[in-house]
């Protein structure tokens, strides 16, 4: 078999159609994040074709326990993709025969994109929950000595820190909550560096919202500036040790 035949074989296997009842189902090369192929459904209508994802983007989110989040993000994804969404399916109505390839591609991409956006939204919700955990740990460890989003004077200017621990002499320690993003790490590094430049610098701790998702190189940069780099999920007793 020559290369052209192999390539044709691959191309045919990536996309093909099946008929079930009055509907056609087209397997596309697009896949959801979990590896499942996106299949687009065609239904003949009075004025052309009705093209949809058959509600499978929503079903995938349902198997993740994330249908509620999916429905919240789907409208925006549909609008950006130029298609419609009806709380369950992405669809395009009144599609002419010669418009079907573009319609199928649009629906496949939007359905997969909506699941990706759902995953992203869930991960951002995890960061919010991490912040709540961080604050509750500080309260448990330091009681009313812990202040939140409080200003601390550095060498060059004042900075707001996510957690500030006070004692009789003033600021004993600063804790900065750091999301797993380049900009968050850069900002934390700058703040901690400026405060650690003080003559009587407080202890400085970088508390990572997601230790594993923060790149090792970025963790190392924080380690160069902060006294300790911790995960927000550690026990309250370990917060006291870190300070």
């Amino acid at each position: 078999m020559n290369l052209k035949q192999i390539a044709d074989e691959v191309a045919r296997s990536l996309s093909f159609a099946e008929i079930s009842g009055q509907s056609a189902f087209i397997t596309t090369p697009v896949t959801y994040a979990n590896g499942t192929a996106v299949v687009v459904r065609l239904d003949p209508d009075a004025d052309g074709y009705f093209v949809s994802d058959d509600g499978y983007g929503a079903f995938t989110a349902e198997t993740m326990g994330a249908l509620h989040t999916f429905v919240k993000v789907a409208a925006g994804v549909a609008k950006r993709g130029g298609v419609d969404f009806d709380q369950r399916s992405f669809f395009i109505v009144r599609v002419d025969r010669d418009q079907l390839p573009a319609a199928v591609a649009a629906i496949a991409n939007v359905s997969a994109a909506a699941v990706e956006r759902t995953i992203y939204a869930l991960e951002n919700m995890k960061v919010k929950r991490s912040k709540v955990l961080f604050q509750s740990r500080l309260e448990e460890a330091f009681g009313n000595r812990a202040k939140f989003d409080a200003p601390v004077q550095g060498v060059t200017r004042e900075w707001d820190f996510a957690g500030v621990i006070l004692d009789g002499n003033g600021v004993a320690a600063v804790f900065e909550f750091v999301a797993p993003a380049f900009t968050a790490v850069a900002a934390a590094n700058m703040k901690i560096g400026d405060v650690r430049g003080l003559t009587d610098a407080p202890h400085a701790v970088a508390a990572l919202a997601d230790y594993d998702k923060t790149e090792p190189s970025l963790r190392a940069i924080l380690s160069n500036t902060a006294d300790k780099v911790i995960s927000v999920g550690i026990a309250a007793a370990d917060y006291r040790l870190a300070a």
Binding site: S13, E18, S20, G21, Q22, F25, T27, T31, A33, N34, G35, T36, A37, V38, V39, D43, F50, S52, D54, G55, Y56, F59, T60, T63, M64, G65, A66, T69, D86, Q87, R88, S89, I119, L122, E123, M125, K126, R129, D210, Y211, D212, K213, S231, V232, G233
Partner: protein, 180 residues
């Protein structure tokens, strides 16, 4: 995710896989219709592990109403504090309309396989952490351990994989044959 927390979750999933399971209460099929009148059938219920309710485990099986002995999807769902949504465990798909492509990172013999009938073995996926179980990355699937040709065959196989003998007692989905 904190590595220690992730390890605890994986350990819990392993316990769930190994436990003998039973329905906590009778289950039945329900139908959900979309705006075009297409119906999907669902069967859901909490499960006891080794005779005790707890551990956040339930069963989920779904199939379109207008199919007949095809496109059946089933999974165990595990909910845990600190995990948004739920984790998918041991999914089993029979005559699915949608294929699955294994990732290039899968072990030899499973790498880049395209599968129709399939299931996800826990031990194939556990070394890769939680992301295969929360479906944020492509999990590793295998062919079914034996060919099945009826819904009762599917229930028998699923009852073995999920260690859920009660599954053999559930009724066939109320499918409606499509009329041409």
């Amino acid at each position: 995710m904190d590595p220690e927390f992730e390890a605890q979750i994986i350990a819990h999933l392993r316990v769930v896989c190994a436990a003998s399971k039973a329905f906590d209460s009778p289950v039945r099929w329900i139908a959900v219709k979309d705006s075009r009148g297409n119906e999907r059938l669902y069967l859901r219920g909490a499960l006891r592990l080794d005779g005790q309710l707890g551990g956040g485990v339930s069963i989920f099986i779904s199939t379109p109403r207008l199919e007949w002995e095809s496109d059946v999807y089933g999974q165990l769902e595990v909910r845990r504090p600190g995990i948004r949504g739920h984790l998918r465990l041991l999914p089993i798909e029979w005559r699915p309309r949608r294929r699955h492509n294994n990732p290039a990172s899968a072990p030899m013999g499973l790498r880049l396989l395209t599968l129709g009938d399939r299931w996800h073995d826990f031990e194939d996926n556990a070394p890769f952490g939680i992301n295969g179980f929360n479906q944020t990355q492509t999990a590793i699937a295998r062919e079914l351990p034996r060919a099945i040709s009826s819904f009762s065959d599917y229930l028998n196989l699923a009852s073995e994989i999920w260690k859920l003998p009660d599954l053999r007692t559930i009724e066939q989905p109320p499918w409606s044959k499509t009329l041409f």
